[in-house]
């Protein structure tokens, strides 16, 4: 069983809502990446989404855009990101790691080579924001190498297409809680609850919900019906500007702990 599947089985057995923090690899600093990953796990993360910075992040709001720009300015690229995951795996072989990014770096690296490097480093899944199921063929080498391709479902994903997305999903399905970009503040828990219930009836994978989850209260509200909550921009904002790796790790811990506690109180 893959690390992602094992983690969700374990969560279900413990009746615990999964907590998935996202941050951009290389921001606030290259030295902070691995310490922040460990700190997040210590504070209760069940899976880590590591953002691969891209020059043209079309689906991201200003917070993640600027984090990408800062990381790129420090020369962050795929080779270093794979190194960080490899280093993380020296101490943590249980927490799944998903890389989240855009198609072009994968295409230029070569999908097969990207997949081999990612698997060798200990990456478990890949979420390519601009690779919808219509373009699934472009990512075939990733799945062939054993990586879980995570798909998004949006409020605009309905009917036959939703069935297609559910069928293609591996690891978990990521439900985008509103039509918009990352970091926006448009979360409406009631609408999301209904949609997630409908998706869970169709999907054979767990359903995580992201976009607009900012704090303990919004995480707990979503956690009432989702298998996992994803929290990104708010964490990236909190990490930004940390002076050194220890401070970044401390901020990560301080940010995530109350969210974990709020999720656990519910269950």
């Amino acid at each position: 069983m893959s690390r992602i599947d094992a983690r969700f089985v374990e969560l279900a057995a413990r009746e615990r809502t999964g907590l998935i923090p996202f941050f951009t690899a290389g921001d606030p600093s290259p030295e902070a990446v691995v310490p922040v990953m460990h700190a997040l796990v210590e504070a209760g993360a069940d899976l880590i989404e590591l953002g691969v910075p891209f020059s043209d992040p079309m689906a991201d709001g200003p917070v993640i855009q600027h984090a990408s720009e800062r990381a790129l300015a420090k020369g962050v690229g795929l080779a270093r990101i794979f190194d960080w995951v490899r280093e993380f795996r020296l101490r943590d072989t249980a927490t799944p790691v998903v890389l989240m990014g855009y198609m072009n770096p994968v295409e230029i690296h070569g999908a097969a080579r990207f997949a081999a490097d990612a698997v060798a480093a200990g990456v478990d899944g890949v979420l390519l924001v601009d690779c919808p199921v219509e373009e699934i063929a472009a990512a075939a080498p990733l799945r062939d190498a054993g990586l879980a391709q995570i798909f998004l479902a949006a409020p605009t994903t309905t009917g036959e297409r939703l069935a297609r997305v559910c069928a293609a999903a591996r690891g978990f399905l990521y439900y985008v809680s509103f039509a918009g970009i990352t970091g926006a503040d448009r979360l409406s828990t009631g609408d999301v609850r209904e949609r997630v219930a409908a998706i869970r009836r169709q999907a054979s994978t767990p359903v995580a919900v992201g976009f607009g989850v900012r704090d303990a209260a919004s995480a707990a509200a979503i956690g009432e019906f989702a298998d996992a909550v994803v929290i990104g921009s708010a964490l990236v904002e909190r990490l930004a500007g940390a002076a050194h790796a220890d401070e970044a790790a401390e901020r990560a811990r301080a940010f995530l702990s109350p969210i974990r506690a709020a999720l656990d109180r519910r269950t």
């Binding site: 855009q65 690229g77 198609m103 230029i108 601009d130 039509a179 970009i181």
Partner: protein, 403 residues
């Protein structure tokens, strides 16, 4: 190399031109793109819609644009005859209006009242603001902060037409970032908003739709050639930024195998210097702005900043159909430097009394090169995509003249 029998068959139903094109967008945009595709598929063969479009092209844009024989220029060059397809004579001064009228009509049929657009030089922004004023639609134009600084007159022109111009400060603050920001707006406001993309880029069906609306250029030119010269040209050429004026001219000639096709990309300070925008001549296949095409990027897949004296060619991608035409061997794409374009600008001004846009000056420079190698009885048809009034300040500044 695969032999293509019929170029009019592309793209396929998934928006593919061979390996290129497609719909590489975030999940939220798939549904509105499908809605647009269905609407456009219906409208493109709807006789009432076509009649509406053609009426506007005739009475509002001023079509057909003539083919003009640049006799003095041809004599000076001393080779083939250079013919100019005068898109510079259109209302708003460029080919861009062909596309914005078409898309605004589609938006109206779909009941969308709010229009967004991206712009680089401001020409597409002006053409969009123009049709929005005429159709009474709300208009928001995204423009890189750097470009706003470089193209103040077009910014003011858009405001005069009632558009809101939003500065984009992310990334390189130029056209590609304006496109990213327009996409973000669209994702956020999908229900009531129509995105008018300014070139044959973006996800399906944009490369097809923008091509179809500009294809009037080539259809007219082909008929005019037969009428005025009794034959087709030997070579056709156009400048390639995103590639809309070029595909507009080329499309009607793709199945005429005897007509040679050459696209002129911006080689900036020279391709070897790295300061250029020649995606086809110097880039590689990748994914940008919703489609697979040739892009300019580094070995890690990060899109690189481009350079051209003409803001309208300053783009690190190119329409997927051009990528397909390059790989299939049907068209050649070559670089024209800033200096060559400027020299062609002056030459055309002095020999024919025409101030060409800096973008179009790249095509003129290429036409001169092609004509020089051919005998007097050959015909080189060049798309003069726009007029140069907007560039007067740039040219003066480059030549150290303060106006």
């Amino acid at each position: 190399m695969q032999r293509i029998e019929d170029y009019s068959m592309y793209p396929d139903a998934r928006g593919r031109f061979g390996d290129y094109g497609g719909s590489f967008v975030a999940e939220t945009l798939i549904a509105p793109l499908a809605e647009l595709d269905a609407a456009y598929r219906r409208l493109r063969t709807d006789t009432a819609f076509i009649a509406e479009f053609e009426r506007d092209l005739k009475y509002y844009v001023g079509r057909p644009s003539p083919i003009y024989h640049a006799e003095r220029l041809s004599r000076e060059v001393g080779g083939a005859q250079i013919l100019l397809k005068r898109e510079d004579l259109n209302h708003t001064g460029a080919h861009k209006i062909n596309n914005t009228i078409g898309q605004a009509l589609v938006a109206r049929h779909m009941g969308k009242r709010r229009i967004i657009a991206e712009t680089g030089a401001g020409q597409h922004g002006v053409a969009t603001a123009t049709v929005c004023a005429r159709f009474g639609l709300g208009c928001v134009v995204y423009m890189g902060a750097t470009d706003i600084e470089r193209q103040k007159i077009n910014v003011y022109r858009m405001k005069l037409l009632g558009a809101e111009v939003v500065p984009v400060t992310s990334g390189s603050k130029t056209l590609k970032d304006a496109l990213n920001e327009a996409m973000r707006d669209w994702v956020t406001n999908v229900a009531d908003t129509f995105y008018i993309i300014g070139t044959v880029a973006g996800p399906h069906p944009y490369p097809q739709m923008v091509r179809d609306f500009n294809a009037v250029v080539g259809r007219e030119a082909r008929a005019q050639m037969l009428e005025q010269y009794g034959r087709l040209p030997d070579v056709i050429t156009a400048c390639v930024g995103g590639g809309s004026n070029a595909i507009g001219l080329f499309h009607a000639f793709l199945n005429d195998r005897d007509v040679r096709i050459v696209g002129a990309e911006a080689a900036g300070e020279g391709i070897a210097t790295g300061h250029h925008a020649a995606s086809l001549a110097a880039g590689r296949p990748g994914v940008l702005h919703g489609n697979r095409t040739y892009v300019l990027c580094d070995d890690d897949g990060q899109i690189t900043e481009t350079h051209s004296v003409s803001a309208g060619l300053d783009y690190p991608g190119v329409g997927p159909e051009h990528a397909f035409l390059k790989d299939s061997g049907r068209a050649d794409y070559v670089g024209v430097t800033d200096d060559e374009a400027l020299a062609a600008f002056h030459r055309l001004a002095r020999s024919e009394g025409i101030l060409a846009a800096l973008e179009s000056s790249h095509a003129v420079a290429q036409a001169i090169k092609l004509a020089r190698e051919l005998p007097h009885d050959r015909l080189v048809l060049c798309n003069l995509s726009g007029r140069g009034d907007k560039d007067v300040h740039t040219i003066a500044a480059r030549e150290g003249i303060s106006l």
